[in-house]
Amino acid sequence: MSSIPLSAQFINLFAAIILLLAFAMLAQRRVLQLIDLFALQGATLFLSTLTVALTTGQAHLYGSAALTLVLKAILLPWILHRLVRKLNIKGEVEPLINIPTTMLVGLVLVIIAFNVALPISQLAHTITRGTLGIALAVVMLAFLMMITRRKAITQVVGFLSMENGLFLAATSATYGMPMVVELGIALDVLVGAIILGVFFFQIRDQFDSLDIHHMEKLKDS
């Protein structure tokens, strides 16, 4: 057990915290706290990426880490906070299934993710290969959050959290994607959040609510 170096221990710790935050987001009932948790997840992802960069000396990972900090820990939460304030969203988000059931489903997803990732991570030779299972679990938990939540804004947070998981998977399996791809994704996520923000206003103007099940009534006529 002592064969695991200290930096890898820190990376594992950060990955575990990211998983913990993913579960906290799944259990969170309030929108503003949800966004704060998302910001915290981004900050942990930044620390994790920075540790990988310091350990492996891969120059482009510093860029990714900086991008993560600026985009996911500061800019996106700020945009979401502004949206919530402008849309005047208050109170609790209503999940479609109750929270204990969601958490149990989440636990099953984590077990599946860990099992699926185990043979893959044995093929990888990176220092961070153990965290691949966690990355996969975070992606699946974010999926679950998007499926089980009714409000549009929580679905967007789920989408962004899924991107966090994918980013963690990329760093843990292959030390990150090429810079061009990463910049592209970052820009996509940012633009996506802004466009969805505009959509929120449209949805609310149309239905007087951000509950997306109203959109099922839309017809082509």
Partner: protein, 318 residues
């Protein structure tokens, strides 16, 4: 086999637990009062309470069976045993082989069953209500506590509390992400088990919300004193268990006298910090509805299982 110095250390640990436990409860009460900008009761308030109650006569409810009279003594005995098993100062405890961590959960369970039965024994509606709620909380908290113990036991390869602490305290520095999960889960469980705010309020006598208080409503005199003392011993035992699992540094390994002496101020310091944190948690949280308690403890169970999984994934060699 039992050395004299070990026996002295053990007896000293029990005496310290008996003396410090009301002090810990008093300290938490003081911090709570300060945080809520009230004038704090003196630190010695629990001792005054115990003194007063021990000098009062016992009033027994009509139709109370002998179970009602025995329950406080059983509860007190269980808590003293728990305090004797959990290493607070030293891991050299001659009584420790009496029960490992799993049996410790059983000891807490025994105390709970007796107090719940005694509450139902007198047949008032409040007693029954409190007993049922207590069993609900207990039945949800125990699996979570067991999962936390499994996680820690897997790291130490043993379920004996003394061995676990020895392994955790005297090894090379190593970060266990699974302990982070287990720590959060353990905090949840101890809040629920000790009738603390998100689940129960130790200071309330509001009929609809009380759990622990509803059970002991009919007790008076020395019986009530024993129950109050046992409740603070339980808080002390849980705090020591948490400190032993997650902050084991400073607990003496052998029975050397200087190490034992050095462990005392450290223990008091750790307990004081823990008390401040507990008061903080109790101040910033509102009491949950009773039907939210299963969700709260379900989360604790989930976190403990996650800790176990993370332990399997990250900390064993691939």
């Amino acid at each position: 086999m039992i050395s004299i110095s070990g026996l002295i250390g053990q007896l000293f640990a029990i005496a310290l637990a008996l003396a410090l436990a009301p002090l810990l409860s008093g300290w938490v009460g003081m911090c709570r009062a300060w945080l809520q900008s009230r004038t704090a009761p003196p630190l010695w308030q629990p001792y005054y309470m115990l003194h007063k109650l021990f000098h009062k006569d016992v009033v027994l409810a009509e139709g109370a069976s002998s179970l009602f009279r025995v329950a406080p003594f059983v509860m007190f005995g269980c808590m003293v045993l728990a305090c004797a098993i959990v290493p607070s100062l030293s891991t050299d405890l001659p009584f420790a082989p009496a029960a490992d961590a799993l049996a410790l959960v059983g000891v807490f369970g025994l105390a709970r069953i007796f107090i719940a039965l005694a509450a139902m024994d007198i047949g008032t509606s409040f007693g029954t209500l409190g007993g049922r709620r207590e069993m609900l909380i207990g039945f949800l908290a125990e699996p979570a506590l067991l999962m936390v113990i499994f996680t820690v036991a897997m790291i130490a390869q043993s379920t004996s509390v003394a061995t676990i602490v020895e392994t955790l305290a005297h090894r090379d520095f190593y970060i266990h992400p699974s302990l982070a999960f287990a720590g959060v889960a353990f905090t949840f469980v101890s809040l629920a088990e000790n009738a603390r705010v998100p689940v129960d309020n130790p200071a309330t006598h509001l009929e609809l919300t009380m759990i622990h208080e509803a059970m002991i409503l009919e007790y008076s005199g020395r019986h009530l004193a024993l129950i109050e003392w046992a409740a603070s011993l339980k808080l002390y035992a849980y705090s020591c268990l948490g400190l032993a699992f997650f902050f084991p540094w400073g607990i003496a390994a052998g029975d050397s006298f200087p190490a034992l002496l050095a462990a005392i101020p450290l223990l008091v310091l750790k307990l004081a910090i823990g008390g401040v944190l507990l008061a903080g948690i109790e101040t910033i949280n509102a009491k949950l509805r009773i039907f939210r308690a299963p969700e709260f403890l379900g989360t604790a169970f989930l976190l403990a299982v996650l800790g176990l999984l993370v332990r399997l994934l990250l900390e064993t060699k691939l």
